[in-house]
Amino acid sequence: MAPPPGAALTWELVDGGVAVVTFDLKGEPVNKISRAVKQDVQATFEALEQDPSVKAIAFFSGKPDTFIAGADIEEFVALATAAEAERLSAEGQQLLERVARFPKPVAAGIHGACLGGGLEFALACRYRVASDHPRTQLGLPEVQLGILPGAGGCQRLPRLIGARAALDMILAGKVERAQKAFRVGIVDELVPHAILKDITIAAAQRMAGGWQPRRRRSGGFTGWLLDGNPFGRRLVFRAARKQVLAQTRGNYPAPLAALEAVEFGLKHGMAAGLKREAELFGQLAVTDVSRKLVQIFFATTALKKDFGIPNPPPPATVHRLGVVGAGFMGAGIAGTAIAQGGVDVRMKDADLPRVTKGLATAREILDDRLKRRRITKYEHARLVALLSGSDTYTGFGRAELVIEAVFEELQVKQQVLREVESASGPETVFASNTSTIPIRRIAEAGGRPEHVIGMHFFSPVARMPLVEVIPSTRTLPAVVSTTVAFGRRMGKTPIVVKDSPGFWINRILTPYMNEAGQLLVEGVAIEELDRLMVEFGFPVGPITLMDEVGLDVGEKVIGVMHEAYGERFAPVPAFAGMVKSGRFGRKAGQGFYKYVGGKKRGVDPAVYELIGTQPNGGPRPAEIIQRLVLVMLNEAARAAGEGIVRSPRDGDVGAIFGFGFPPFRGGPLRHADDLGAARIVGELERLADRYGARFAPSDALRDLAQRNTKFYP
């Protein structure tokens, strides 16, 4: 519900003729800019202009942790045509032009998130003061939704901080902390939160007295060389364009459009720039890519509130986490839990040297945050002190949650479960970080299966945003809540999936990887396979992914899947030789590619000998892509039909966050909808005729095709 006009902004006059305006959107947790808010701003500024006792304005948010979170996305989604979207952009521009040209000086006091339209508003003010609080973050993340900053952001930001720094922020949709924003010159002053209001009001007063804030463009002589003149700028834009194309491979139009809006404005002036910006905004708003990205945004937002079960009981708070297994995975879980959640972590492994190594690996995650200045050295010391370990289960008695990340072998995991049960309390949740083994099988070894659950992380844990949460049929609802809440606290997006071999991610990824192996055997070159799938939109190709995951792990996974689902998961025999010769992938320094000092070097030609083939071109590129994509969509449809994921939404978000399914295609199920079930079934039948039964269309797809419906309503 949009609030009635006047419900968002209030103002009062303080000493020295300063009107303190407070933006506090009623009934909403954060401030956002909607049509109604715009009217309210319009009306308020009208009144402020009329009132002769008002000499200057100091603008604040009434919300505790947000300044303005951005434009109201619901309104944006409702746009049907490019013309409508262009009009929305132009209206916003006009309003902010009014703020920028307001006869009385406006100072903004920024505390909390100042994003998108919020930052564009702040940029239109004459003076900006920000609190140095970690929650104060500024940015223009529009391109992440497939659009561009359309309320003058593409014009004002480069004029304030130079084209280079502005492109840096706009093209990646980066959100920066206040310190960085101050360094590059977005805000004029950085002050402690406690005095933010006083300092902002004082600045407004000074401006009312005729004081002009003076800004020095940062960057010195180099800055002038590149930003200060048209020739330098041409270089900057050329370099930026090249970089954008390399990163998006033409799949994402928004960064290029934003770049054009900035360049056009700097070349032809503010007014022309604004016009171009609005036009481009209009065009982007109705692109399929933007629609998809917005859908994903809504899906992840909804997932943040979803516990994956009906009527979820309140989650228990985890103060202490036990991690069994101090290998790379266990250490990643420990380090991430500390870095993101500030949890007290106790690690356990069989011997102390292993524990020491795991602690050091977990610590690297914290060191990395220090290096990137995300935390101070004092916070770092506090977080490091949360990490400890032993070769016994000491300290597990106080753990509310224990996550095991030991060797992927049923008996080993069952043994660990029994040990943990005897070392911990009766309410302790036991989460298994298994990638394939059904939770039910693990749980049956212990005495309280209702407290056993799956928590499948992806490697490297610190960077991969997904976690699969897998309750067995006996898992208590409260255990699900607690696990989901904890996954979220670790900064992950949890999806609750059904307990079955491979769960969701490995279920749909395995056929894809296996088909890549098949194609290798048929003579497609390794780089070619990777290149084609990167072009399709994956962050890395299937062969590189195999090296990252580890071929030994992959072999285990496919073994379990083959056993559970039969022939269509039959492993490509060629891979066995790779594993036998110790080519486990990146971690071993050699897989399909060579790795020197942790860096990927070229393909190792010896690999072709090992798999008994030489590259000879193989099928046509289009056929290669089709085989890889359809075999995945087919399995995704089948698994979705079995209810492995609770909704297409969970399945798509999982595939995007879990292994980087191209976000602009909306996820495998959304992509299947776009292609159409009937067409997919037809293609699969053709492929099955030619290459074998593994392509036989799933019942789920046939059913959709028959009824002419889709996964999404």
Binding site: T356, L359, A385, S390, G397
Partner: protein, 419 residues
């Protein structure tokens, strides 16, 4: 029956890091790291919630200039709420014994229910002092108003001012070093070189046995290095299994090369390490579900003229503690005597024997002592409390005693009891 003025105080648990000769395995750890590590492991091993702790007291003799109150840094471990007050104290080598005594006082008088008392020393991490003249010049320079004035002040620095001064283990009042005092006591109490070497050998032999059969190991928390690839330190590194009287006899006396008898072999080494003990009121221990190892019955501190026999004050502290406990020497079933020097232990024993007490060496330092295990000044007291408590459990002993000699001519004694 409790003898004190209030509630009974239980010793619930105690742990320590390995004790390592200074400059060896623990040389990269700061004292504060050792203290925090042992305390956190104490929590882990007892499954105690940090929030249940009311106070933290640590003993440290040579405090770091950067962390003058090491106890507060311990109580600021994230496993504790920030609101736990903490202080550090210095009663020389009896510091962590005193920390336990203070905890006992607080609990017995009802000021606290659960207290962590510990001690730490890192002689690999000691403050190196600048010369007095250099210090004066630096202070003056920091107050100088102009660059010129500052440079002028600096120009007064002479090379000899730059020689650092390390803190000596000598009595400020007499200038006598610890070793010289031990030498003097050996002569005045007629302790022979051979007797001292025998006591030292006994210390090593019994400590080796205690470590090998797991009694000592159970009190030690392995030290995990921060960087992967460095060695995990699981045991004390001063205990020698390869020494003999013959070998010891070859060593030259350190403090009196002509007529002396105190050698490196019959003295305790400079050591790094930390230890901590968990103390509770009897009621709190019961409420939280812990079975106490032992209870504190009494303690006493005595002091003598440092110019007399510097390490002989235990012969006055022990009778006071026994009197307060309402028991006699013969009631003791196990005794821990801190071994700064074999000459000092044997002097203490002679002093007690002179009171007509019968000395039964079989119940004294049954797992060796500081000569073998090492002596991180601040950490020895809580090591003794821990060892004595566990040994009393093993022997089902009713009364046990610990005695510590300390710099400044002080002696510390504590009586533990079980029932």
């Amino acid at each position: 029956m409790p003898v004190g003025n209030g509630r009974r105080v239980a010793i619930v648990a105690g742990y320590r890091t390995p004790f390592c000769k200074s400059g060896t395995s623990l040389k990269d750890a700061r004292a504060v790291d050792l203290a925090r590590f042992v305390t956190r492991e104490l929590l882990e091993r007892t499954n105690l919630e940090g929030a249940d702790v009311n106070a933290v007291i640590f003993g440290q003799v040579v405090a770091s200039a950067l962390v003058p109150n090491v106890a507060r840094e311990v109580s600021l471990l994230p496993q504790f709420p920030k609101e736990i007050p903490a202080y550090s104290l210095n009663r020389a080598c009896a510091s962590s014994g005193q920390a336990v005594a203070n905890a006992y006082d607080e609990i017995t008088l009802g000021s606290a229910d659960v207290v962590i008392a510990g001690g730490v020393e890192s002689l690999s991490d000691i403050p190196i002092l600048a010369s007095r003249r250099l210090a004066d010049i630096l202070v003056e320079a920091s107050k100088a108003k102009s660059l010129g004035a500052r440079l002028k002040t600096f120009s007064r620095i002479r090379p000899r001012d730059l020689v650092p001064v390390s803190p000596a283990i000598a009595e400020p009042s007499t200038g006598e070093s610890m070793g010289q005092s031990a030498e003097k006591m050996a002569k005045e109490n007629h302790i022979t070189r051979e007797a001292q070497d025998r006591w030292a050998l006994r210390s090593h032999t019994l400590a080796a046995k205690g470590a090998d059969d797991g009694r000592i190991t159970a009190e030690v928390v392995p030290w995990l290095p921060e960087r992967s690839g460095e060695t995990v330190v699981t045991a004390d590194n001063g205990i020698r299994r390869d020494t003999s009287l013959e070998q010891m006899a070859k060593l030259k006396p350190v403090f009196d090369r002509r007529y002396g008898s105190v050698t490196a072999a019959n003295s305790s080494p400079l050591t790094d390490g930390a230890s901590a003990v968990l103390l509770m009121s009897d009621a709190a221990a019961r409420a939280l579900g812990y079975t106490p190892l032992a209870y504190i019955r009494s303690y006493a501190v005595a002091a003598v003229d440092p110019g007399w026999q510097l390490l002989q004050a235990p012969i006055f502290a022990v009778p006071k503690a026994l009197e307060r406990a309402g028991i006699e020497w013969k009631d003791l079933e196990v005794i821990e005597v801190h071994e700064a020097f074999a000459a000092q232990v044997l002097s203490n024993l002679k002093g007690w024997a002179a009171k007509g007490w019968e000395i039964n060496e079989d119940i004294i330092n049954v797992m060796g002592g500081s000569i073998a295990i090492g002596h991180p000044f601040g950490a020895t007291g809580t090591r003794l409390v821990t060892t004595l408590s566990h040994e009393m459990v093993r022997r089902d002993a009713k009364f046990g005693l610990l005695s510590i000699c300390a710099q400044g001519g002080m002696g510390f004694a504590m009586v533990l009891e079980r029932n």
